[in-house]
């Protein structure tokens, strides 16, 4: 009898303990999420303010600033430029990063550790330092090519910018694709070869399709990283040709009306749309 009572009480206590833990966990998640979302909420809110100088409380709401974006050629051009560079850097990043990840996972040698560290380096070096270094390197490259008797501009070209963006995109591609190769059952590659597939056909028909979710996630990350990059682009863009983040920064040097908030909202919407569309094909929660 008394045993049953004690048993009952201990069950009750453990339930209480569990609900406390649950509450604490939910609370922590809420705080963290607010921390991430609050700036987005404010920027979005600001984009609809009526007055030109943002101040609280808002005097009213308007869609005027979204229309105003269209009058800002620098922002429109920057948007197009960022999209172009982002797509190109993503394509190059995948073309180099996916084989690199396959090589690192598949052919472990004593250099693999060093190679994978090297591939992650662009993440470790502060972006502003990386930007300076790439700028100097591109200057040197131009001088070197010129010294050989050719004239090939590097600095300030879209090619130079794309190359730099590809560099910062590669670590993400390598990491995401490596992660998706972790649980890969290699006997299916053997099965393909047994059925008559050459190694190249095996990669094309079996390996890549199976790790497709990882590749799609890598492409998405690559694009977002490139699209929102400011530090590298600052050094490398040519005169009069800027990316969206630079255009926003330049605009802010003169004015702080909600046009910029509206442009940011558009940028956020573009990235969110990319994520939602991707998620329809590949569950992002499975790979990230």
């Amino acid at each position: 009898m008394s045993g049953a009572v004690i048993f009952g009480r201990s069950v009750g206590r453990s339930n209480l303990w569990r609900s406390w833990r649950r509450l604490a966990l939910d609370g922590a998640a809420f705080v963290a999420l607010s921390f991430i979302l609050l700036p987005l909420v404010f920027v979005t809110w600001l984009a609809f303010f009526k007055q030109e100088i943002p101040s609280f409380p808002p005097e009213g709401y308007t869609l005027h600033w979204f229309a105003a974006i269209l009058t800002q050629k620098a922002i429109i051009d920057g948007f197009v430029m960022s999209a172009e560079v982002g797509v190109a850097a993503t394509v190059i990043g995948l073309a180099l990063g996916v084989p690199a990840a396959l090589g690192l996972v598949r052919h472990a040698t004593r250099w693999s550790g060093a190679a994978s560290t090297l591939l992650l380096m662009p993440l470790v070096v502060p972006a502003i330092v990386l930007g300076t270094a790439i700028y100097v390197a591109q200057v040197e490259a131009e001088i070197l090519v010129y010294g050989l008797g050719y004239e090939m501009p590097v600095i300030g070209t879209i090619g130079g910018l794309i190359a730099a963006h590809a560099l910062i995109v590669i670590p993400w591609v390598v990491r995401l694709v490596t992660a998706s190769l972790a649980g890969f059952d290699r006997t299916i590659e053997e099965a393909a070869k047994n059925l008559g597939a050459t190694p190249w056909t095996t990669v094309r028909r079996v390996t890549l399709p199976v790790i497709r979710p990882g590749i799609v996630a890598a492409a998405l990350f690559a694009f977002v990283i490139s699209f929102s990059n400011l530090e590298l682009s600052l050094f490398l863009v040519g005169a009069g040709r800027t990316t969206l983040p630079i255009a926003i920064l330049q605009y802010l040097e003169w004015k702080i009306d909600p046009t910029i908030a509206a442009a940011s909202v558009v940028q956020i919407a573009v990235i969110a749309a990319a994520m939602l569309i991707t998620d329809r094909f590949v569950k992002l929660t499975q790979v990230v």
């Binding site: 070869k193 059925l195 050459t198 028909r205």
Partner: protein, 348 residues
């Protein structure tokens, strides 16, 4: 479908030999089983035939065509993996069609052959499913259909049943064997399960430590094992240590004089005796070998009983008796008579 000839095949990794001088001639249509404990080299042999491991020496020929150095995709062998290795992103139809696609079979013929292969494994109607929507047994059958659809020269089975539960295993065993006979396809299966091996094979190869211990039919292996390893690995055996002390005369460590069928010369020897070949009770009296003993232990296993009998302090044997129900059973501590004809004892 072809004759598979393996000659002096070997595989070394540095100093360790995994397969040593293995030669086998497998005629068209034979179901050969490589049987042995893990690490005996059976899987390595199979993978060398499939082309995934490069032999250190020897040759493999399929119908006279030397394939020893060919890559897997040029060999035309159908391999069923232990884990099935189905392509997770392709449907059942696409999985089965893969080998045909690689061979550039026209679309119309491909459809027919995929359908035919799936009918063969009784999975027609499952073509649109993905592998993960199938049970283990169904996945296994898709793997089999996939390996058969492109009409390989030889079917290779790598422990194909070990991931199935016991009941299903027995069904699929019969199914694979019947299918193989119907198609008349040369087949090599690797397994560590002796029941599986005995129930499916035309001919068995027992391997240990990279070497062939014995090649033969079920009956050869069971009734005339070539050595102690085979005698203990295929079925169960009692082993009595001792020596040959005269023509057809074995003397155990405990001093029992045993008549045996060996023509071997004098020297240390082991006598192997199948538990079910030993008779217990009064009828043991008139046999070539007949001894008194004491029952030490009894395991009641349902259809059979294992009775451990102490003959001398050094010599103990397990006697298996069939439980027909209702008969008098020996009891622990009871004095019993056991015996066996001289022909059933094997001396190594």
């Amino acid at each position: 479908m072809a004759r598979l000839v393996i000659e002096h095949l070997s595989k070394r990794y540095g100093e360790t030999s995994v397969v040593k001088d293995l030669s086998l001639d497998i005629p068209q249509g034979e179901f050969l089983v490589l049987l042995g404990p893990s690490g005996c080299g059976k899987t390595t042999t199979l993978r060398m035939v499939a082309g995934f491991i490069e032999p250190s020496g020897g040759s493999i020929t399929l119908d006279g065509r030397d394939v020893t150095t060919l890559p897997p995709w040029k060999r035309n062998t159908g391999l069923v993996f232990q884990s099935y290795a189905l392509f997770p992103h392709l449907t059942v139809d696409e999985n089965v069609a893969f080998g045909l696609e690689m061979r550039k079979v026209p679309a119309q013929e491909m459809r027919e052959r995929v359908g035919e292969a799936l009918r063969l494994v009784r999975l027609d109607g499952f073509g649109d499913r993905l592998p993960r929507q199938l049970s283990g047994g169904q996945q296994q059958r898709v793997a089999l259909a996939r390996a058969l659809a492109f009409r390989p020269d030889v079917l290779l089975l790598d422990e194909p049943l070990s991931n199935l539960d016991a009941k299903l295993r027995e069904e699929v065993r019969v199914e694979i064997r019947e299918l193989q006979q119907k198609l008349g396809i040369t087949t090599v299966m690797v397994t560590h399960d002796q029941d599986e091996a005995l129930s499916m094979a035309d001919r068995l190869v027992v391997m240990a430590h990279g070497e062939v211990q014995q090649v033969g039919s079920q009956r050869d292996l069971y009734e005339r094992p070539a050595g102690r390893f085979v005698a203990s690995f295929v079925g169960r055996s009692n082993f009595l240590e001792g020596s040959l002390t005269g023509p057809r005369r074995f003397t155990s460590e405990g001093g029992l004089g045993i008549a045996c069928a060996s023509d071997a010369s004098f020297g240390k020897a082991t006598l192997a005796l199948r538990p079910e070949a030993v008779i217990i009770g009064a009828e043991a009296e008139h046999l070539d070998n007949s001894f008194q003993g004491v029952v030490e232990y009894i395991s009641y296993l349902g259809s059979i009983l294992d009775v451990r009998v102490k003959l001398t302090p050094q010599d103990r044997i397990i006697v298996q008796i069939a439980n027909r129900g209702g008969q008098a059973l020996p009891a622990v501590g009871e004095r019993v008579r056991v015996g066996w004809p001289q022909t059933v004892g094997q001396v190594f």
